[in-house]
């Protein structure tokens, strides 16, 4: 039989199941396939907090959401059109994410007595029936039985067969959204190259799922989405942490410097360490230190030696690094600190996202300790911002903190990756050797941008000592002189602020340079704010948007842009941090819109907030 095929502009699907059900893989396969079909998309993995919470429990549910479409997509979607649940716990944990009237594809075999009790449903409950009565469309499928049937001759153990369940479901969803199975078939053949029987089993499950969707009366219609009219070029999918790894590796190549990462594992930053540990052939050394203090200080040692030196961490680890970051600032050596923010304070909710480390980044050190602070706005943007962080650190001899967050670090989006020779050059020149009768070397002399020379060990005649004690302007010798302390304090501040001179002016993200409301965001909220601004503008409101990647120093024209608006709203996933910096530095009555819930903004809540402001 054939089903009517409906064209949609966007669609959102959420795959949810037990940690063991392979939902992340299912999601990423759907993502790749969809990307290859030319849709724009945005994804959001929703991991359980525990490594492997007991199977079948709500705590053990793992989810993956993707929004894709034939127009530009800026967020993974507030709620989904289709929710795939592999067991009762998955339904319980995720029903709140399904839009009213949405479709639930449920694996019936995951709703047995045991499953219900593990999910803390009453024994007599029939959750699927309940949700049906509340206006959702439930599509029950005996996934386990069907997969076992389909693979009965595979010669695999039941355990292995059940591992193919997710491919069967993926097949159904591919059919429903008219996706080709080829990319996944390729992937499976590659992945299981050494185990052809597993490859074949997975592929068969996938195909049988597809056929099943087609053959049955499960669905009254199926959907298709045109390729998106997005910037032409060659794309790949990328997560924020992957993009960060590539940017660091690239900066090492363009600066022709060895790269040194001193790090200590911590969620959600660890993947940067993992990724860079595979880049040895690019001259990248990764050092897993005994703690965060050793991580950052080992990087400082490497910076003195002439490496592009970095350290990566998250909240609790960054706190431990502050004393050393101040030392690097005092040394005036290049150092990149990457903070993949997570929900805090303290251990907080390590697997959840937040952007509450901004004030710590800008102000969180003893004494007057100005450093550069940048923030990435999306997964792909992590590449540009990280690369820029390396460039600034190296060319200005200053620590740069780059803020990412758990949401963009693990989230993925299509990336029009650059060609290596289009990357901005990074100019590093070490101080030249000195002969006996040359002028004495001045390690703390400065150029017009207040930058001191980088003189690395091994350079004849430049032997010098650096330290955390106040230094005499020019010579760098220890000095307790009052006037000198004032001079050096001012120099360090001027040097940080001078970085703004070399950075591009801020452009409007959306809307005109004047209007009724200016929305200012920073970091990983770009997508949802942009979508909300566009939808608010579509309603005819004069709302404009700027998004800050440069938090210290601010872009030179920020004050000017602020001047164009009486009303300024600053949405942040914290209790109000950027808004404080703006009020302090520009004396504007900026308001905050703040949520601290460990999850991204919904486009809906933002839209309502904006409309509120303009009415």
């Amino acid at each position: 039989m054939s089903h009517p095929q409906i064209t949609r502009e966007t669609a959102t699907i959420r795959f949810a199941g037990d940690s063991g059900d392979g939902m992340q893989l299912t999601g990423s396969q759907f993502t790749n396939t969809t990307a290859l079909l030319g849709n724009d998309l945005s994804t959001f993995p929703d991991f359980p907090a525990e490594i492997r919470a007991p199977a079948g429990t709500v705590a053990g549910v793992s989810g993956f959401q993707i929004q894709f479409g034939s127009r530009a997509i800026h967020s993974p979607g507030d709620s989904c059109d289709v929710l795939v649940v592999m067991n009762a716990a998955a339904l319980k944990a995720n029903i709140k994410h399904l839009r009213t009237g949405g479709i639930i594809i449920a694996n019936l075999d995951g709703f047995g007595k045991k499953d219900l009790s593990l999910a803390r449903y009453k024994a007599e409950a029939d959750p699927l029936l309940e949700v049906q009565t509340t206006g959702y469309t439930v599509v029950p499928v005996d996934v386990t039985k069907l997969t076992r049937a389909s693979l009965v001759d595979s010669g695999l153990t039941v355990k292995d067969i059940d591992r193919c369940k997710n491919m069967f479901v993926l097949g159904i969803v591919y059919w429903l959204y008219s996706r080709s199975m080829d990319p996944t078939i390729d992937f499976l053949s590659k992945k299981f190259a050494k185990k052809p029987d597993l490859a074949n089993a997975n592929i068969k499950a996938l195909k049988d799922g597809y056929t099943y969707g087609n053959a049955t009366q499960l669905f009254s219609e199926r959907y298709m989405l045109e390729p998106a009219r997005i910037e032409s070029g060659t794309y790949r999918n990328i997560t924020g942490n992957e993009a960060t790894v590539l940017a660091i590796t690239a900066a090492g190549q363009t600066s022709k410097l060895p790269v040194f990462l001193g790090s200590y594992p911590i969620t959600p930053a660890s993947d940067i360490l993992h990724g860079l540990s595979k880049m040895k052939h690019f001259g990248v050394t990764t050092f897993q230190a005994e703690d965060e203090i050793a991580a950052v200080t080992s990087a400082i040692g490497a910076a003195y030696g002439g490496s592009l030196a970095l350290t990566t961490s998250s909240g609790p680890g960054i706190a431990l690094k502050t004393e050393a970051i101040t030392l690097a600032m005092m040394y005036e050596l290049p150092l990149v600190i990457i903070n993949v923010q997570r929900a805090g304070p303290s251990t907080g909710m390590p697997t959840k996202t937040e952007q509450a480390d901004l004030l710590q980044a800008v102000y969180g050190r003893a004494g007057e300790s100005p450093i550069v602070v940048l923030a990435a706005a999306s997964p792909a943007d992590c590449f540009d911002v990280t690369y820029q962080a390396c460039q600034i650190a190296l060319e200005h001899m200053i620590p740069v903190m780059m803020l990412s967050d758990g949401y963009i670090a693990n989230g993925a989006e299509p990336w029009r990756f650059p060609n290596s020779d289009t990357l901005p050059p990074i100019h590093v020149s070490f101080a030249k050797p000195r002969k006996e009768d040359d002028e004495p070397f001045m390690p703390y002399s400065r150029n017009e941008a207040f930058v001191r020379p980088w003189a690395i060990p091994g350079t004849k005649g430049l032997e010098h000592r650096i330290g955390g004690l106040e230094k005499e302007h020019g010579t760098g010798n220890i000095s307790y002189d009052s006037d000198n302390h004032q001079i050096m304090t001012t120099m360090r501040e001027n040097k940080r602020n001078a970085v703004a001179d070399r950075l591009p002016l801020l452009q409007m993200e959306e809307g005109e340079p004047t209007g009724d409301l200016l929305v200012i965001g920073w970091g990983g909220t770009l997508g949802s704010i942009k979508q909300a601004v566009m939808e608010t503008r579509a309603l005819g409101h004069k709302v404009s948007q700027i998004h800050l990647r440069q938090l210290a120093p601010f872009p030179k024209n920020l004050g000017e842009i602020l001047g164009g608006f009486k009303n300024i709203l600053v949405p942040e996933i914290n209790s109000g941090q950027l808004v404080r910096l703006l009020r302090d530095q520009y004396h504007v009555p900026a308001k905050g819109f703040n949520r601290v819930r460990g999850i991204p903004f919904t486009v809906e809540e933002l839209k309502n907030a904006f409309i509120n402001e303009v009415n």
Binding site: H281, F287, I300, G458, E463
Partner: protein, 337 residues
């Protein structure tokens, strides 16, 4: 031309700011005088120190140098050495800097065996902060922070180092420059982390703690100078020795039936014996055993920085020339017209 360098060439132009009579002066002198013998160009030498009186050391050496933050010198030196294996790294630290706040970095440096020379200036006190007890201060020490005497059981620095799998463990003292000089040379020659504890007198806050060993009169009877494959002999008239019966060491007097052959022959490469020697540690030698000076233990373990370099080389041969564009492209791409 390096060969023609003299110890003066290693003195910086900064005036030394230790208290008159501080043991640090004699150590500085020996370090400066041993440098030319290393035949290493001055620009390839880096002194890395933490914070403390002793840690002011780098300012006085006309080499590259880092005065860092309290306790972190081992980690900074590790990063520097891993990224620049060509450099000769000397780490200067105090008993507080190394064993109080810096204890973790020290034991990790030792187990990793990064090729650097750690000189621990042990004066059993916090000098720079004006006289609080340290993790090596003797129990009952009356200091600024312990008016009724300290209660902490002190570390035995050499036992701790051995427990952390240190590859080179030695002891010297400020007041025996000749021996100190040899120990500095041995430390430099060892590949991997060398751990040299130097007894150093703080004239202001802990004057005379080590007199028993440093005083010319009492030294022969209280200090045991170790030499590889030599019997352990000490005493004014070199008439005392140490003998091992089974696991039990004992002090014996030579003559009356006991000859040099019966004595414990020092073996630098025996970890267990080194550990026993490190336990000759009673305050004032009250247990009758002399305090050992010299190289207690040396073993050959690959240096961490060399292994890191080797692994990177292997990766490069495996992957061939790095291809940044291939990396940026990744495995799966699609094109939008």
């Amino acid at each position: 031309m390096e060969a023609t360098l003299t110890s003066k060439d290693f003195a910086s132009d900064q005036d030394v700011r230790w208290c008159p009579g501080c043991g640090d002066y004699t150590i500085l002198k020996q370090v400066q005088s041993v440098m030319p013998d290393l035949g290493i160009p001055r620009e390839n030498i880096v002194f890395v120190a933490g914070i403390g009186c002793s840690s002011r050391f780098p300012y006085y050496m006309n080499t590259y140098g880092m005065h860092t933050i309290h306790g972190r010198a081992p980690a900074i030196a590790t990063g520097l050495k891993i990224s620049r294996p060509d450099l000769s790294i000397w780490m200067i630290t105090g008993d507080g800097d190394a064993l109080s706040i810096g204890g973790n970095h020290i034991i990790h440096a030792l187990r990793r065996n990064v090729d650097m020379n750690i000189l621990l200036f042990n004066n059993e006190i916090y000098g720079l902060t004006k006289g609080q007890y340290s993790p090596t201060s003797r129990p009952g020490s009356v200091t600024k922070s312990t008016p009724m005497g300290s209660l902490d059981h002190p570390f035995n620095p050499l036992s701790l180092a051995l427990g952390a799998d240190a590859g080179f463990v030695a002891r010297a003292m400020d007041r025996d420059p000749k021996h100190l000089n040899q120990m500095l040379l041995r430390s430099a020659q060892h590949e991997g982390t060398s751990f040299l504890e130097i007894y150093q007198n703080c004239v202001v806050f802990n004057d005379g703690t080590f007199d028993l060993y440093t005083d010319k009169v009492s030294r022969p009877g209280s200090a045991l100078y170790l030499e590889h494959e030599k019997p352990m002999i000490f005493g004014e008239n070199r008439d005392k020795g140490v003998r091992l019966d089974g696991l039990r060491p004992e002090v014996v007097t030579l003559g009356d039936g006991v000859s040099q052959e019966d004595l414990w022959i020092h073996d630098e490469h025996d970890a267990v014996k080194a550990y026993i020697l490190s336990r000759f540690f009673a305050v004032g030698n009250e247990d009758g055993f002399p305090r050992p000076f010299g190289v207690l233990f040396e073993s050959k373990r690959p240096a961490y920085d060399k292994q890191v370099a080797a692994q990177m080389a292997a990766a490069k041969t495996r992957h061939g020339a790095p291809d940044l564009d291939a990396l940026l492209k990744g495995n799966e791409t699609w094109t939008v017209a």
